[in-house]
Symmetry: C2
Subunit: 411 residues, 2 copies
């Protein structure tokens, strides 16, 4: 089944303009190059190097004569949440030396690469994480109808449910330039990244174990990012994440009570109110949500009802690329250092989209949430007792103040 | 209504053995001293100094000729969660200078105090936070029957609900010794602290706006603690916290399906399995939960079904004091620094207890959750995309490994 065929289920046309080239790494993991679309007069690129010369063992090979064991997950009986857990065999024993970035392209002339990318250059490349928290292992019983769907009462001894943490963790490299950042890339590249995100949403959503595809970027050392090479991630979870579960629960209650879409109504209400809208373009609206939880938070939603990334049209993708870069530029102007200089904002950006498989899928609506734990230059919001212990967020600011500052610094 | 009368609703006798002395600070906030019980032969203490000489204005007085405005909270339509928000007037403009710890006792001979405690010494003292996130303001409409109970469909324009962030935030000082920590105090003091926690649960639970009382301690600079004086906090929320809401939902489903108590069944199952039980005493069980989310996590539950802190008997309180100190000592031995030295573990400790007001109160059961974001010496678990964006925790270890290490280092 091709990506284009599946995209049709999202009800929108899609025509990625760059090239897509797929291969497999030495241990069997999938790797896909996404090239920027060529501008008029540009020459076609040479074909990508597809051969990974490393002597990696098959990743499902036995370890110390014991059968390969994938990651497992357990259901917390107190909350109903599934928690994937690293197992001993899955430990990251093979981290590269500090001077070898695994996301950089192969050095020209080197006959062996420490990194994950066989080619000496790329625009955008996606590959499966070598040390994944979620992994579908051949032969392991998973997928719909498995224990993930069961209520405890349906399973003997059902207080404690355990299952393979099946799924997929992928890395999305935004540039072969180690020192770039997404905010520094031009709209043509961001457009390619959107195409890659949409492709992975479609591909990973089609895996039989996938319930939800989450596309996100962790950016900045302050939130624990250790690989500074510009990249994001894609997780295909075998369960609905707690945030999506709650959102769909709210959306279902709203639909039941009003017959309308909660996420459509929220966007319309933000537009009608206007106090927290920071940017409107032909296809997108950027706003600080009514009940923002973080010191800096902004959501980007398409004007049209779109379920997920594959559902975006070419025009919407092009417009997003320009709009998102304006928002990221503003975020890097949000705080001013004591010496008057800029403060690169650490942030988490995550796409909330309709789940791949759920009877409430049609209640979903695409939306990018961007937020930061920075509450001032050098000052972090810590998630302490109330947030981490009781799950109760408390904000030190107001959405209107965040919106006013964003409006001030938007170019 | 006295504390003892109310405690009877928890179905357990209580006889705090130390003295309790209540007063008001200059701006009207409540302050309560709790003295350790005297050992045989010890002389009674002199009466506590109750007079706060600071010229603080009434805390509900108008600011710049405008009526006092308390903190507000908004309901996130995407999750249903309430989010209290600091307002401009509530900003912490009056932080003390660095050399004046506001939790230290008054310096003997000083006729004016920078700190919050009028006396020159104390065992345990509790007072209302001067800059609270939750505050009941006289005359503001709150309490049961208010918008907090409403579903959006019941309120005109109900997509966005807003209400006073009514409630109470209190500080619990564990010792007048600025350099002590809870783990360094003896069992007699910890017993007094338990009495203080129980007293505050009763008193704050009786406030008409309170739905849930959360008793917790944030410990260590790594989680953002700025005041190093040993102290914990008590929050009285005007709503159920998201964690308690989910727990009661799970408990109600379990009760519906089995007729039994979820939290009792979880404890029994942990005891029967035994692999994660790290300590058993006459009245308490310490175990790493089946689906632990944090790099270090341990729960302490009473053997007897107890709804909340006020429901603990004297014997259970005495036993807890000794047991908790053993657990905290073990936690400080959990990691070993590269030089072989100890690693003081930053931690969050929070009491999960039955809510003060909820029709499912009887499904609650007292339990202390202690966990740490430290996953190794100098290494933090960051809550990035999966956790902060999707609410999906992923563990880098297993509960059995945590339990094995705790068992190893328990004295």
């Amino acid at each position: 089944m091709s990506a284009d065929t599946r995209t049709a289920t999202s009800g929108a046309a899609r025509s990625s303009q760059g090239a897509r080239t797929a291969t497999r790494l030495a241990d069997g993991r999938e790797l896909v190059y996404f090239d920027d679309a060529l501008r008029e007069g540009e020459s076609p690129r040479p074909p990508h190097d597809l051969h990974d010369p490393r002597p990696l063992p098959d990743r499902f090979a036995p370890v110390d004569s014991a059968p390969f064991q994938g990651p497992r997950m357990r259901r917390d009986p107190l909350t109903g949440d599934w928690v994937p857990m690293a197992t001993h065999r899955m430990n990251r024993t093979l981290l590269p030396p500090d001077d070898a970035c695994p996301l950089c392209p192969r050095r020209p002339g080197a006959d062996y690469t420490d990194g994950e990318v066989p080619d000496t250059a790329y625009d955008v490349v996606v590959f499966e994480n070598r040390f994944p928290s979620l992994l579908s292992v051949p032969g392991e019983p998973t997928g719909p109808g498995s224990v993930v769907d069961a209520t405890p009462a349906e399973v003997p001894g059902g207080l404690w449910l355990e299952a393979p943490a099946a799924g997929r963790c992928e890395v999305v490299c935004f540039s072969s330039d180690h020192d770039a950042s997404l905010a520094s890339l031009g709209p043509r590249r961001v457009r390619t990244i959107v195409d890659a995100w949409a492709d992975r949403t479609t591909e990973l959503g089609a895996l039989p174990t996938t319930r939800e595809v989450f596309v996100f970027e962790n950016h900045g050392r302050e939130i624990g990012v250790t690989l500074t090479h510009p990249h994001g991630q894609v997780y295909a979870y075998p369960y609905l994440t707690p945030r999506t579960e709650r959102l769909l629960g709210q959306a279902a209650a709203h639909h039941e009570a009003t017959g309308r879409s909660l996420l459509r109504d929220v966007l319309d209400a933000e537009l009608a109110d206007g106090r927290r809208v920071v940017l409107e373009t032909e296809h997108w609206v950027a706003y600080v949500p009514f009940a923002a939880r973080w010191p800096v938070e902004v959501h980007l939603a398409p004007r049209r009802d779109v379920l997920d990334l594959p559902g975006l049209t070419d025009d919407e993708r092009d417009d997003f690329a320009v709009t998102y870069l304006r928002v990221l530029t503003a975020l890097n102007r949000f705080f001013v250092a004591p010496d008057g200089g800029p403060v690169a904002l650490p942030y988490i950006a995550g796409w909330s989209q309709a789940p791949a498989r759920d009877h409430r899928r049609e209640l979903g609506r695409l939306r990018l949430e961007v937020f930061s734990v920075l509450r001032g230059p050098g000052k972090l919001k810590y998630l302490a007792g109330s947030e981490s212990g009781a799950g109760a967020w408390i904000s030190d600011t107001t959405p209107e103040r965040i919106a006013a500052r964003l409006t001030e610094v938007l170019a």
